[in-house]
Symmetry: C2
Subunit: 179 residues, 2 copies
Amino acid sequence: MTEAVRKAAKAAATPTVTSRAESLAAAELFQLTPADVDLDILPELLGYQLRRAQVRVFNSFLKRLEELDVSPGEFGLLVLIGANPGLNQNALAKAIGSNRSLLVPMLDKLEARGLVVREKSAADRRSHAVVPSRAGQVLIARLKGVVRDHERQVTTPLSEEERQTLLRLLCRLNGQEAE
Amino acid sequence: MTEAVRKAAKAAATPTVTSRAESLAAAELFQLTPADVDLDILPELLGYQLRRAQVRVFNSFLKRLEELDVSPGEFGLLVLIGANPGLNQNALAKAIGSNRSLLVPMLDKLEARGLVVREKSAADRRSHAVVPSRAGQVLIARLKGVVRDHERQVTTPLSEEERQTLLRLLCRLNGQEAE
DNA sequence: TATTGTTATACTCTATAACTATA
DNA sequence: TATAGTTATAGAGTATAACAATA
């Protein structure tokens, strides 16, 4: 295996909740091509179109989130904390596909803003039970509203039926049988 | 605008052909969640499912490419060079959404492998016309075969009709009216 | 001895700016 | 003066390993 390939594989295998779009961060495969170059087979590839769509949706999502001064990574983390109050940092890190050490500065920031609280766990005094504060709960509710609105906004090129079809096909592709 | 948000926005706006899946890089929003945590509204979001699908497709794509010792970034670059022989490095960099300086080491590697050639342009002796070598053309042809095969492989959960529907909806979402 | 949260370190990727050679 | 290719430097993001406290 090549160096570059190994690295890209690793990055893709454990993408994180923070940073650079698909990045892709790490390892971004396909690109929005502005020029009048011949893209050959690229436009026919699912991966190419998936990447374009993801970048597009991500960017507009980013703009909407700015209103509330929340990064996409923070959004995901907040939603998870809101839906699963009391998880310890380790579990939370795994849930967002990250690890303990990366979660620390994220929580530091959210805690400094008074959105979440690290409670000393009585059961296991090594761990912290992470819970949303009152203000955090309010923000999470607002975030959900914003994101639902964004969902409608970003899918304007599609009819409601098409939007649902797209979502259903993606779920199937992702191995999540709809029901 | 927040620091993190600005950075993520920038990264997302100019993702590159190399590395980190979308990573993704840059700023990966949604995550594959293994645990039994409540994902709340996440699974209903197009961005979440798009990201999952992209990571999934990217990873299997990566494995297929390993056979030929080519990274995803190199794949995109090779296809573009094959379809647009003679472009200079600047144009090529823009085409993959990157910049001149990042393209240099990529071309160095491909040239060292004898896959592409930097020809001195007679018209403008500052620039290089990048063209595929004979071996490069052969590899590109093989790559296209691999990628077409991968396309079928990765879409096995879908019928052929569904695959085309998905591609069509993605194109529409991307603002590329099918015809 | 193992695990939680934390910190420190290294490594990768990317962006920016400087350098040269041509124009 | 501006542009093409190149190189060097710095920055952000991430992974890994080490640390203290607790189990």
